[in-house]
């Protein structure tokens, strides 16, 4: 089976979806001739031309607003927000417009668009090139939020997202782009939205994570295995709609849950999972639902030591798992 990097999986899937469906277009800052700052759209301009691979100015509000306009007219835009940190000028268009289009039109119109955005820290990007923004969007009914962690899932979930009839935010952890390789079949497989993945079975503690943290959770599970702790790891993959069944089944089995996310802890996405477990698995819990997340500062800092301090790592996750296992 061919082995690909995460970014290769994204790029090839975009190309294949554009070949398959002439209504799929790509737009964003430097996505055309340049091929995107991470080269996620490299080569698409040459193959599909400026009519389907559209360079826009640095105007996120317009990129998403125009995507809404084309999507309600039968196209399937895949706008790229160059860094997730830049998404806020488009926040109104995403939250007030795209999310509500179906709702306000009695179900007659929708915005089938996939907003791709690289997110996450650990790359020395500092205040405006490192943030995790998923929680702002998972809160909103009408939106779907996807965070793949492997090349296999990146391809399968991007296919599902582009083919989906609702607006999807597709967050790609930029640290994974070239650091992660994996087997990706050439077949037309897809990974359905709304399904979590048990990436490592275990019996004593459930570790829930997504994005870069899904990898760190697996590393942490290896670390605690040496202490005789059997940890089950769940990669959430789709944050909204959430696969509550897989999460609840796992925690009902293990009785203990560590939820990991890279964003700062307070009000982060993991809080929703913690609430779910407290409400619906209370009778099965043998210890406090535990979160491992970033500190309460308003942005990932630059200086190497500070960034290391901000970022959750496998050791911190393992430490939390050990503590909870011993509870």
């Amino acid at each position: 089976m061919p082995v690909r990097t995460y970014i290769e999986a994204i790029r090839e899937t975009l190309r294949e979806e554009m070949r398959r469906d002439a209504s799929v277009i790509v737009l964003g800052e430097d996505v055309g001739k340049k091929g995107g700052v991470f080269l996620a759209t490299d080569g698409l301009y040459d193959e599909f031309g400026e009519g389907r691979v559209i360079d826009t100015p640095l105007t996120e509000s317009l990129i998403i607003g125009a995507s809404i306009g084309v999507s309600v007219n039968g196209l399937r835009p895949v706008p790229e927000i160059q860094f997730a940190d830049f998404i806020f000028p488009a926040f109104n268009q995403i939250v007030s417009e795209a999310a509500r289009m179906r709702y306000r039109s009695n179900g007659t119109f929708s915005c089938p668009m996939t907003i791709r955005a690289p997110f996450g820290g650990g790359v020395h990007g500092a205040l405006y090139h490192s943030q995790s923004v998923e929680a702002f969007f998972t809160h909103v009914p009408g939106l779907k939020v996807v965070v793949p962690s492997t090349p296999y899932d990146a391809r399968g979930l991007l296919r599902s997202s582009i083919r989906d009839d609702d607006p999807v935010l597709f967050f790609e952890h930029k640290k994974l782009y070239r650091s992660v390789r994996g087997e990706v079949p050439d077949s037309d497989y897809s990974v359905p939205l709304g399904r979590a993945n048990i990436t490592r079975p275990g019996t004593q503690v459930t570790i829930v994570a997504y994005g870069l943290m899904a990898h760190y959770a697996l590393e942490a599970a290896e670390l605690v295995e040496a202490d005789g702790i059997s940890a089950e790891v769940i990669d959430v993959r789709t944050l909204r709609p959430l696969d509550t069944e897989t999460l609840l089944d796992s925690v009902k089995k293990t009785g203990k849950a560590v939820i990991v996310y890279e964003d700062n802890r307070f009000g982060g996405y993991g809080a929703e999972i913690a609430a779910l477990l407290a409400e619906e698995a209370f009778d099965y819990l043998d210890g406090p639902v535990t979160r491992v997340a970033g500190p309460e500062v308003p942005g990932v800092p630059y200086s190497h030591g500070l960034e290391d301090w901000f970022m959750v790592d496998p050791d911190r996750i393992a430490e939390a798992v050990r503590r909870l296992a011993a509870y």
């Binding site: 389907r52 509000s61 607003g65 306009g69 084309v70 007219n73 306000r104």
Partner: protein, 319 residues
């Protein structure tokens, strides 16, 4: 002047909008319409003249002061009243209310209560038409206040670069909410804001439906034939305050009266009478007829049931 279509339907539509708005006020006072309303009495020539220049498959976006465009575009008054009353038979099933009259079946992609938010969406519609080589045009109606928002400049810039088939229509009624334009904006003629983007900007007498129609038609034809975007500034005036609770005491004495002396319905009515198309008496009869229709539409709307939770929850995601 171009070959003019039959004006009597225009006159009728302007009356319908005027009487619709007056009925809305009445229903609001009676408690049948809740929340707030933003009325457009005095501005009727803009929606009627501009929409008359559109083809059936063209699209528009507009604003929270959007009853005029919705009715001009053919929304049934009953569906509009029902929406304002929160009924299931409303054009948005009771989800939207006064500020969000939307009817996709008539190419009305949405009235928007976020100032400036409709411009990029209309531009996206225009882009889709251009990419698919469809001879269709998008119009986006917005107020004078929106010309100070980022999306206005972003959209004009990109429309110019793309030569997009779009017409930007400023309904300049001289007030952004409660503030006079001159206190927030350093120029008087907003059409000048087209200049930096290299597209035509035209100041239009928004009280005269013929002039509105002619200028909009030119802009639409230009857009449809590949000539790109135009910015139209319709100079007009809202007779009422910003919203239902606003007595508009910030307006200088005599301003309202001066504008009423150039009432858009009177201007067209005078023309129809002098040309022998519709006498003053016939105009009075027409007004009574439209008034009765508006009353009946409001009554039917009020009799409709409220929407159900099940119904609206099914409109959040596909399938």
């Amino acid at each position: 002047m171009t070959d003019r279509p039959d004006h009597i339907p225009w006159f009728r539509k302007m009356l319908e909008i005027r009487l619709f708005e007056e009925k809305v006020q009445e229903l609001f006072m009676a408690g049948l319409i809740e929340g707030t309303t933003h009325l457009c009495q005095g501005q009727e020539a803009v929606p009627v003249g501009a929409v008359a220049a559109m083809h059936a498959d063209d699209v528009l976006t507009n604003t929270y002061r959007g009853h005029g465009e919705a009715l001009a575009r053919g929304m049934d008054a009953e569906a509009a009243f029902a929406e304002l009353m929160g009924r299931s038979s409303g054009c948005c099933g009771g989800v939207g209310g006064s500020m969000h009259l939307t009817d996709f079946s008539k190419g009305n992609v949405g009235a928007n209560a976020i100032v400036g938010a409709g411009l990029p969406i209309a531009l996206g519609c225009a882009m889709a038409f251009k990419l698919r080589e469809e001879p269709r045009v998008a119009l986006t109606f917005f107020g004078d206040g929106a010309t100070n928002i980022g999306t206005f400049h972003e959209s004009l810039n990109m429309a110019a670069v793309w030569k997009a088939p779009i017409v930007f229509v400023i309904t300049n009624n001289l007030y952004g909410e409660y503030s006079p334009l001159r206190s927030t904006t350093p120029i008087e003629d907003l059409a000048r804001r087209a200049d930096p983007f290299g597209i035509p900007g035209v100041v239009v007498d928004g009280q005269d439906v013929d002039i509105v129609y002619d200028n909009t038609l030119s802009a639409i034809e230009r857009a449809r034939s590949g000539g790109g975007a135009t910015l139209l500034e319709m100079k007009t005036y809202r007779y009422r305050g910003h919203s239902r609770a606003d007595p508009a005491k910030y307006r200088p004495d005599g301003e309202l009266e001066a504008w009423k002396a150039r009432d858009p319905i009177d201007i067209l009515g005078g023309r129809l009478a002098s040309e022998g198309q519709l006498s003053a008496e016939e105009q009075q009869n027409l007004r009574k007829e439209v008034s009765a229709e508006i009353d009946a539409a409001a009554d039917r709307a009020a009799a409709a049931p409220p929407p159900t939770f099940e119904e609206i929850q099914s409109y959040v995601y596909a399938g």
